[in-house]
Symmetry: C2
Subunit: 457 residues, 2 copies
Amino acid sequence: MRLFLFFIAITLPAAEKADWIWSAGHVITMDRERRVIADGAIAIQGDRIVGVGTRSEIDARFKAAKRIDRRDAVIAPGLIDTHTHAPMSLFRGLADDRRLQEWLEKFIFPAEAKNVDAEFVRWGTRLACLEMVLSGTTTYTDMYYFEEVIAEETKAAGLRGVLGQTVIGFPVPDAKTPQEGLARTERFLQRFQNDPLIVPAPAPHAVYTTPDDVLRGARALANKYKVPMLIHLSETKRENEESKAKRGMTPTQLLESLGALEGRTLGAHGVWLEDGDLDILKRRGVGLAHCPSSNSKLASGVARVPRILELGIAMGLGTDGFAGSNNDANLFEEMDLAAKMQKVSSLNPELLPARQALEMATVIGAKALGLEKQIGSLENGKRADVILVRTDAPHAVPMYDVVSQMVYALKGQDVNDVMVNGKLIVKDRKVLTLDAAKILAKAREYRQRVAQSVGIR
Amino acid sequence: MRLFLFFIAITLPAAEKADWIWSAGHVITMDRERRVIADGAIAIQGDRIVGVGTRSEIDARFKAAKRIDRRDAVIAPGLIDTHTHAPMSLFRGLADDRRLQEWLEKFIFPAEAKNVDAEFVRWGTRLACLEMVLSGTTTYTDMYYFEEVIAEETKAAGLRGVLGQTVIGFPVPDAKTPQEGLARTERFLQRFQNDPLIVPAPAPHAVYTTPDDVLRGARALANKYKVPMLIHLSETKRENEESKAKRGMTPTQLLESLGALEGRTLGAHGVWLEDGDLDILKRRGVGLAHCPSSNSKLASGVARVPRILELGIAMGLGTDGFAGSNNDANLFEEMDLAAKMQKVSSLNPELLPARQALEMATVIGAKALGLEKQIGSLENGKRADVILVRTDAPHAVPMYDVVSQMVYALKGQDVNDVMVNGKLIVKDRKVLTLDAAKILAKAREYRQRVAQSVGIR
């Protein structure tokens, strides 16, 4: 019998070399046909996926130096967060259940003014990366201050980031004026251009906080460096109403009138977009970030996601900030909530089915960021951003439909292994690139400092 | 120095004996003052809580045979699920994103007719208990068939249950007629009366499925055995509209007209309750179960929770079934979603704050079940239903407000230890009373059988 097997082996063609083979009970490819491969596997060489198929196909074709094989698991593309503010992890739950103005003016702005510096941003980013990667996020999109520090830490953690340096019309921790902010942004774009993991971006905060010339300046920088521009867009009813009252235009119309949508743009939230806005966004190829936890917790409203997706506008999922708007950064929860919010607000349970929620967290998110050729699905030639999610917990069995299970039953904590750009970042829930104990200790130190600064215990 | 300490020790009064002391960074008592005790501890003797205080107070007063001490954790009352269908865990995610009628007629009813027997119920209950206790649920409320089997398995698992034997107007797996169902219910009530863990109950399914005389019969049984009656109530718009069209009354008015609310009652869902209904429910002291995951996923609607609670009607939280209506049984998710659903549907972020969501899952849930003297808070004399939730994961730090953290950041999977009625059920996330591997294997077997029975792969 052994001899016979030997004979078979030597008659097969010489195996191709791969760095890794991962196999599992199911591979969710999110390729064009949305194939789910039972007893599937993928092969990885360098930073790329080089094979996707059944385990027997992949094993026949490749010989890998390292393997992860887990029968009771699902392999899926790494999840893509299209909107967050990573360092705000240090403000997690600082002020909940409050009206936006009170929340901003009494807590967030004072806490930021008194605490945010490069060091705060560094530790906050580390904490956020730890949390994100442990719930399967491999690419995230950020808007904050000292974004070069965020880029350094994101690279060190091994995550992929579309990282937006904030420009805004008033003094902020990293710039006294918007002009200083634009200058800082350009240095940031120069430093990280062509980075394998980082897409640096200018991020004017929003039309209601950023003067027209600064919006134009941010657009010009984005186009000069061929990167997207990130901006908050029609998050609240008030934002829209004030824009119409003061400028006679919606925020989208205002951006369009300034030429600020002429180039790749990602708008966050889009809760109050009107039909005319959608026409403009569709024509300009603008991507959007839907943030269901934030929009529900801050009571911003329910974005018209099914209509937006039907128009072919790429709307991904975002977790938003940690301080009151969402107290964690977990795309499994955003997928689940995105689907539920649409159903209950329309009284139609067929809206935003599981498949579409998973698309938003993967392929559509990639498209919103302009990264659809690199990430978002498991296909040959794409970057190896891959997660392995265990399906052996009591809440994970039985499993009738793998995609439904991903969206409605599995949790971020079921993520067992994570690879970004061909590099293993999480193995058996241990983050290999970050010192978790040190980060948690530092976060607790910051807790005391921040609490004192806003007068809570 | 040693001699001096010895001297102090012998001058203290002799310590009281306790079976257990649990201590942690915070104890959330949910007592009348809603005290949160920093560096807190509780003492347990037999099935009761005998001490609640700071760790130093408890250590000075009690000497315990066994201890759990974890600095980076929160001790809280065990969570209370006021509505579920435990054995449906075996249908988890069988049919998602569908309209209720299609879901029921094409999937759930056929799947139940072909698969549900005592053995199915036994394994489904075991799986549900495993999942519930691992996410901190210590008491749950059930409505299903073969409820005596559910009671046996709930006792074996060591959970507390308010368990409702279904009576309904058509043939079901455990009764060919409603009269047979009522007879079976009475045997069930006799068998489990005065059980320390089980409250047996009659559970007429709903007004639209259960004839008037059967509703009256269920009420009579509940009153005879001094237990609550459980019923689905105003879950969907259609249920209300049909009741009004056919009977000229809302479901609540109909029950009231039949005398069926004269005695302790728990109504599940209550999404479409009208003002007049609330008056009746308040007057009758009816408890309600709010099921945010189910109501959103099945697009039933948003219950008027703040109004209901304001009226003093006890509305707890329920996870509902597993098959399409909610694909898991996790009260941490229900607390979070209950708060978010109210905020976004009203555009008011102050509605249903974290504290109220936690009340619904503890003290208010206990009141809805008529068990407020036994469970729901950590107070001397109450049953020892206690959970210890770890707060050392990246998503759990920093922590500014313990209650906010419980609702908006911590997860079911952070639950580390669980005690019910003074007995340790979960230690370090291992369920001591259930054979997890065997249950998961059996659930996978059922998966194949059920899938085949409804013609899916």
